[in-house]
Amino acid sequence: MSKTDDTQTPTTAGTRTGTGTDRTSIRVDDPIMEIRNASVTFDMERGESRVLDDVSLDIERDEILGIVGESGSGKSMFASALLDAVVNPGILSGEVTYRPRGDAEVDVLGLSPEELRELRWEEISMVFQGAQSSFNPTITIRAHFEETIEAHNYNMEQAMAHARELLSDLYMDPDRVLDSYPHELSGGMQQRTLIALSLVLEPNVLVMDEPTAALDLLMQRSILSLLEDLQEKYDLSIVFITHDLPLVAGLADRLAVMYAFEFVEVGPAGDLIGNPTHPYTRSLLKAVPNLDTPLAEMRPIDGMAPDPVDVPQGCSYHPRCPLADETCRAEDPAYHSVSPDHQSACFHWEDSAEAIPLSTGGDERGGGDGEMRAFAGNQSDEPVVSLENVDVHFDQVADGGLLSVFQEPDTVHAVDDISLDVYENDVVTLVGESGCGKTTLGKAVIGAQRPTDGTVAYRGQDIWEAKDSRRGADIPYEHIRRSLQMIHQDPGSSLNPNRKVQASLEAPLKRWEPDMDPDDRQERILSLLEYVGMSPPGDYAQRYPHQLSGGEKQRVALIRALLMNPDVILADEAVSALDVSLRVEVMDLMLELQDLFDTSYVFISHNLSNARYFSGKAGGRIGVMYLGELVEIGPAEQIINDPQHPYTKVLRWSTADLDIEETVEDPPLRGIDIPDPVDPPSGCRFHTRCPEAREACTREQPTLGGHGDGTEHETACFREYDESHEYWDSEPVVEDDADATADDESGSWGHANE
């Protein structure tokens, strides 16, 4: 172990030669784990790939350490390194020391396989992303617990009692959960169960790798607040790895920002958010869509993260950094102490605040062209697409084999009685939890999903009538089909993996303009590729999808939709799968192209910050959906700043802010799990979770326009009705209302709020 006082001065900063720089200055008083000079390398055809580059970090006892980085920055590798679980053929070097209470020291990398097995789970345990794939679908949750306990020779009874305690700490009914099979639990419950499972052997350190990435915002926030309680109750040290900076900002005690396989800035959460000194941290903070920053302040980070085989010489961030100078290009910066426990690996940490201003201030970021366009939607009077009382119901086939023929199929009410108009140059963003029917409604808008009831009209022509009758329609179906396009959520499957970009983009042109000269076709594709920033376009056109990054794939999908020259594009979570720093860029591009091509967007998102950015910048609307119903719709800024419906308020709560003062508090709702859409609650569907629910809500359903004061902002809640409505006289719904929780998942926040 080296001494604490070295490398505090720039003089000891070494250049990246051989084993690299000495960056051992990040220390804490009472570390539970110490990582020194950990590197992970993979031998590849193209050279040695360094996916963890000489990383040193301490984890303090009983702290929550947030590790933030974009995908491919090496954060998962760091988690694997902590447990000496780097997959073959990766080679881990360096030191990882675990210090249980007392003076004991365990050299994790020197353990025998048997000792390592004991260390994992009993001392250090890990929660992975994607709970579904972490469970064995063929055995019950109880069997998972028992298997774990047995494998580590713990006392079964005591351990199971502990498991029950953990499950109830996580607001689940232990008996019900233990007897379930994994698929019987919702995603949020699975993730909570996984956390309980990882804690059942009472480890001291819990490593969580994107534990909430697959969940809804609401569930994410709920789990985070539970984590804080757990951490206090069981004296855990938690390493929380995520790409979502705002998410951990309120939770973590310390934050470490990773870029290009090393930590560029480490410090107490408040310091790091309030006074970030590394240019990357600052740019990242600006790039993350959130609810507070003025829209004009948000900027994508230029350039791309480096390739692990070919990390730039000197400071790895210099190609993207506005402050980079000769020193940065030549030398790898050591950590500079901003304050005793806040370190930043940048030569220019003192100047970064000036160069990259975070809060308001007109001065432009260095290197940026400063062009900031407001994309005002000039909406038409006549709607392009108009939905009237649209219902979409799905019959859920019961898995009873032959006998199911005699059963009445369960009907899922994916969309229930929604009317919505989309105008020219309009932006409508649909927000809601997963399973609320956003995608189904979106597909109904573009005529990809036939409604069970109600009409969908394109410029006055009923789409499905046009399709069925073929002739006789005012606007032929072919034309309608062409005018309504879609961009899918998953960049991985939005392009045919077997076709080159060029072939994928030629398909719509060949279909709709068969007479077009092949050279013109080629030229048009190339110029569009260039326009969206993929240059050289000739090179990109000849690539297969696997040679593109996620952002590039989404751009190609966007071009493909635009080549049809559509009137409405449905963008189904089009940016959700992208890295945070890319989201703003892609959304900007979409809006810029809207200006050029005169299209409208129906943008679907589960994330209120993205919705705010996208709709807000275009002067569009946000519609909030809950269980197949539109509960509130209005101009973006109004929905964000002045939400009326209790559910919108909940969503607003769940969207993490960069505000460090705000701790994760209990949510303003009574149950965290969504009722079953097969059997939605009577009356107002939100009444089972609504903190404002009264008797009237259980009987009668509020409507969107019924109480209108003439503005665009409409809310389906009795609280918006005037005082003569019976809501104001009826009794609040009691907490233990049997009806409210009958179909509900077992989890209830009731006790938490009391």
Binding site: E45, G72, P308, N496, D519, E523, A561, D598
Partner: protein, 366 residues
């Protein structure tokens, strides 16, 4: 691609037809897309027909061949298959057909240069028999493999992609075929039809062998059709046959090819087996017939003197089957876009292989 000549956007050509179509539709007023937007660009350079054909050949012939050649299994496999094809085409012209009594009876192999593999009990040259049995054998293999694959692909994709009533009908028929035991069915058909043409024999042997493959392909289509890019194609109004050809089939091709080669192997075994059992009428020379005769009249199983008569056709079959297996293992690489990407760029001298950067990195990033 280096063959594409293009210049920067020019204003001197009329705007591309897209704006005209917009005007036709009458939905968007004005011609807002002027020449400086990406939509207005027109090419002024031309790519000759020849260039385009060259590109196609490069992509569909040269590149797949290179990929195949880069894999040793496919290389060995295709050489073996090529040798058999040569034997069936050139060989039959070079080697005289076997005649009774052209040599002594039961000459051992490698003894007499004029009878390299020896002779049978009638003095027929065994090598000549093997060579002259090759063309009907190859015809049978091709007929059987093509029939199986085409039936399975057509039924499987149609029923998987269309779904609903079509799916139900086709799958019911398919399931019936699957439940009929294959061998007795083939025997009955063979007895009734007494097929003589090798093409017909090939089809009869595989008469219900395609049903299993069709089901497997259907289930693959069921997953592929839910992919976003297939939905995108549907929304673009692209016709169903086009979607099946361009979006569905390429994903199935590795599977189909491997099964094509496997069914070729099963045709060999089945036909040889049936000839050996004497169920199919002997009209022409066949490896199975040779084995049958060596066993029935030569007692090749019991004496070393006639063993070569049995072993020669047997080894011929084993080598061909081995070649087909190697070939099929090599072919699945041809349709792998990752491998393709490397080879199409390598086939083009003007393009470096620098476009690979970043791709491999994604494998290892968590």
């Amino acid at each position: 691609m280096g063959t594409v000549k293009r210049t920067e956007e020019t204003d001197d050509r009329p705007p591309a037809s897209l704006e005209e179509t917009i005007a036709d539709g009458g939905t968007i007023a004005g011609d807002e897309a002027s020449a400086d937007t990406p939509f207005g660009t027109v090419s002024s350079g031309t790519m000759s027909r020849r260039d385009r054909y060259e590109m196609l050949v490069n992509e569909w012939v040269v590149a797949p061949f290179k990929i195949l050649w880069s894999d040793w299994r496919a290389r060995v496999g295709s050489l073996i298959i090529l040798a058999y094809v040569l034997m069936g085409t050139v060989g039959v012209r070079v080697v005289d057909p076997p005649r009774v009594g052209e040599g002594d009876r039961l000459v051992s192999p490698f003894e007499d240069l004029s009878h390299p593999l020896g002779t049978d009990n009638m003095g027929n040259d065994i090598f000549a028999q093997i060579v002259h049995a090759t063309p009907p054998m190859l015809e049978m293999i091709v007929a059987g493999a093509v029939f199986t694959t085409v039936m399975a692909v057509v039924v499987g994709t149609l029923s998987g992609y269309k779904g609903g009533r079509t799916d139900q009908l086709l799958m019911t028929f398919n399931d019936i075929l699957m439940t009929i035991p294959g061998l007795p069915l083939v025997i009955v058909i063979a007895v009734i039809l007494e097929p003589r043409s090798p093409w017909l024999v090939g089809v009869i042997i595989t008469v219900n062998a395609w049903a299993g493959l069709a089901r497997a392909i259907r289930s693959q289509v069921l997953t592929l059709r839910e992919e976003s890019y297939v939905e995108a194609s549907r929304l673009m109004g692209i016709s169903t046959p086009q979607i099946v050809m361009k979006d569905i089939m390429p994903g199935l091709m590795p599977y189909i090819l491997v099964n094509f080669v496997n069914s070729a192997r099963s045709v060999i075994f089945a036909s040889v087996g049936l000839y050996f059992l004497g169920i199919l009428p002997f009209t022409e020379l066949n490896w199975g017939v040779m084995m049958n005769l060596s066993y029935e009249t030569g007692g090749a199983l019991y004496t070393w003197e006639t063993a070569h008569w049995l072993l020669a056709p047997m080894i011929t079959i084993v080598i061909l089957s081995f070649g087909l297996i190697l070939f099929s293992q090599g072919t699945d690489r041809v349709f792998n876009p990752r491998v393709r990407a490397r080879h199409t760029s390598a086939a083009d001298p003007e393009e470096g292989d620098d476009d690979m950067s970043g791709e491999v990195a994604t494998h290892i990033r968590g």
